[in-house]
């Protein structure tokens, strides 16, 4: 009992911080959104003809970003488990570089790459196609995929490096084709990591602000831009609070649903365990 209480004491500073900077503002936001006991601000989210469009666009963008991230991240994380430690370290650094670069620098770099006259536009012009990805949803999705790739690779790597490769050998020894062995043995074991990565990347994509604001266009706003606009331009704190709550509820529901998909391995638990496992392998 005593020991337990002492352990809780260790969490106290973090809890106090969370309460002060997260829970209290969140509560105030909630209170504002139902000011006067009316759900009018929530109702107008569904009737203003704009919010649902933007939410759908955001979800579609987040889905594309997540798909790109898992397609790029899975082979990358797999390779990381197969190479010698020194090369693995290098691969890790490469994937972490976006983490260490300033958000603004990274996004402005994407603006320069994607804008008219930039390398991407010049490349497509060689084939007579004047494609400008700057200020387009496609450009935003590409930039976000790069920014969010580490959130896919890290949980995946931690899951994949925990898989006992002798199981694959056993499958081969019993006469299985390599593809079948991968699909029947390796893939199910990696599923927890995949789900963890999917949840992380998808939920972060839902709330992304800087990339769509800098690389995207107002005509193709995502939900974070809509939130920013409602607070800073319309001064509609109540409506913004309602929108924020809606996004939060949607996100939490998705996390809960995806967490169950992850099967026996809890996706969130896996993320929490990531550094320990990574260090052991």
């Amino acid at each position: 009992m005593q020991a337990k209480a002492k352990q809780w004491l260790l969490v106290l500073p973090a809890l106090a911080l969370l309460a002060a900077v997260l829970l209290v503002p969140l509560g105030r936001s909630l209170k504002l959104s139902v000011a006067g006991g009316s759900l009018e601000h929530y109702k107008s989210l569904f009737t203003d003809g704009v919010t649902l469009t933007v939410l759908a666009r955001t979800a579609a963008t987040a889905a594309v970003v997540t798909l790109i991230a898992v397609l790029l991240g899975y082979p990358y994380a797999y390779l990381m488990t197969r190479v010698e430690p020194r090369l693995r370290g290098l691969l890790m650094v490469i994937v972490l570089v976006p983490f260490w670069t300033s958000v603004m620098a990274r996004n402005f770099a994407w603006v320069i790459i994607l804008q008219r006259g930039g390398p991407v536009n010049s490349f497509f012009r060689l084939f007579g196609w004047d494609l400008v990805l700057y200020q387009s949803v496609a450009g935003v999705a590409i930039a976000m995929s790069q920014v969010l790739l580490p959130f896919m690779v890290l949980p995946l790597f931690s899951a994949l490096s925990g898989i006992d490769r002798r199981l694959l050998l056993a499958a081969r020894g019993l006469g299985s084709h390599p593809v079948r062995a991968f699909w029947k043995v390796y893939w199910p074991l990696s599923r927890g990591g995949v789900v963890a990565g999917l949840i992380l990347v998808f939920t972060l994509s839902l709330g992304f602000y800087v990339t769509p604001a800098l690389v995207g266009a107002p005509q193709q706003s995502l939900v974070a831009q809509l939130l920013g606009q409602r607070t800073t331009q319309l001064l509609d704190f109540e409506g913004a609070g309602a929108l924020g709550m809606l996004v939060l509820v949607v996100t939490l529901a998705l996390v809960a649903w995806a967490n169950r998909l992850g099967g026996t391995i809890s996706a969130i638990g896996l993320v929490a365990a990531a550094p320990a496992k990574g260090a052991r392998s």
Binding site: A217, P218, Q233, L234
Partner: protein, 356 residues
């Protein structure tokens, strides 16, 4: 171990109490003594504009008023003013604001001003409001990059041309800020006479904007559009005079289309509950003075709100001088009263159109 805990909690709670007190406390004491030392927090859009304001508004003022000093911050988000007023911890004393926004929120977000000592006879109408004072006029002429339309005979010449993608293909650039003519120009291009513009037919304006929506870069702030012009991302654009001058100074060749030009007064206001209201009120009166107005026009290329101001303009500033010989067309000044009454409606409609 119990002793540690009992010692730890008071320390923690004391720390928390200090933090809370520091967050709530107003700081210095409010004094009615006009010679008491005050530090005014001055909030504008940053960049070269605010640097000029420091030099032209603040520095001379601190010489004549030794007890006054300034702290500068940016940007002057209206939502910040609202948040400060709502939380009863107003930190800003002077804030750059659209006169319509100041008028709309007069007495709620902004202090009513006593400007009875300012002589309005030499001021452009609309310079003085109940809750703001105008400091300059931003004209937003239609302009194009000269290299995008190199043949003057085939270059755009009218407001209609800005909306004519067939005759004048090319990327457009516009600011989403209501002060920069985003609702007026479509109506002017649609055949509405300048003196018939107000009350604005917002729906008609947005319908006209629809025709160029896919070919237009809508910039949320002037810096972004100025940068886009410099980087050749847009060919034809509507940008305030004060941003055209630095572009030209940096070597970007720009030609103005002087047909009908929308201009708007910029102003300053005092947030409701400013801790140094009296001192701010004294200072704000000086902003429309002839020297200040002339100085700002020279520095930024904006048009003066005070007809007694005699700015000595640079060659590039003369090219965008909306009340000067360069402007061979008409000038439309935005109707502050209409915007004050319809600001929310116009903003909501425009925002919904934009993101939809």
């Amino acid at each position: 171990m119990v002793s540690t805990r009992t010692r730890l909690f008071p320390v923690l709670s004391a720390g928390l109490a200090v933090a809370v007190l520091a967050g709530c406390g107003g700081g210095e004491q409010v004094s009615s003594d006009p010679n008491a030392k005050v530090t005014l927090t001055f909030t504008a859009y940053g960049g070269a504009g605010q640097d000029a304001m420091i030099k032209i508004y603040q520095q001379p003022y601190t010489v004549t008023h030794a007890n006054v000093s300034f702290v500068n911050t940016s940007p002057p988000d209206l939502s910040q003013v609202k948040a400060q007023v709502m939380s009863k911890s107003v930190k800003w004393d002077l804030v750059s604001v659209a006169p319509a926004a100041a008028t709309q929120n007069c007495g709620t977000l902004f202090e009513e001003l006593d400007l009875s000592s300012v002589d309005p006879s030499s001021l452009v109408p609309g310079t003085i409001g109940k809750c703001y004072i105008g400091n300059f006029i931003n004209a937003n002429p239609i302009a194009y990059r000269t290299d995008a339309f190199p043949d003057p005979a085939k270059a755009p010449k009218t407001v209609e041309d800005f909306f004519d993608l067939r005759k004048f293909p090319g990327k457009r650039g516009m600011l989403t800020n209501l002060q920069n003519g985003i609702l007026e120009y479509p109506l002017l291009a649609d055949g509405v006479a300048p003196n018939q513009l107000f009350p604005l037919d917002i729906d008609r304006s947005l319908k006209k904007l629809d025709t160029i929506r896919d070919n237009t870069l809508f910039a949320p702030n002037v810096g972004a559009l100025q940068q886009a012009v410099g980087a050749k991302q847009v060919d034809m654009f509507i940008l305030p005079d004060s941003r055209l001058v630095p572009l030209m100074n940096d070597g970007t060749k720009v030609t103005m289309v002087w047909d009908k030009t929308v201009a708007a007064i910029n102003g300053f206001a005092i947030p409701k509950g400013s801790p140094h209201k009296a001192a701010a009120q004294e200072f704000i009166k000086t902003l429309a003075g002839p020297e200040q107005v002339a100085g700002i026009s020279e520095a930024l290329g904006t048009a003066p709100v005070n007809k007694a101001a005699k700015p000595d303009l640079s060659d590039n500033a003369k090219k965008v001088e909306v009340y000067g010989p360069a402007n061979t067309g008409e000038t439309v000044l935005q109707d502050i009263d209409w915007y004050a009454k319809n600001f929310d409606q116009a903003t909501t409609k425009l925002s919904n159109w934009l993101v939809g």
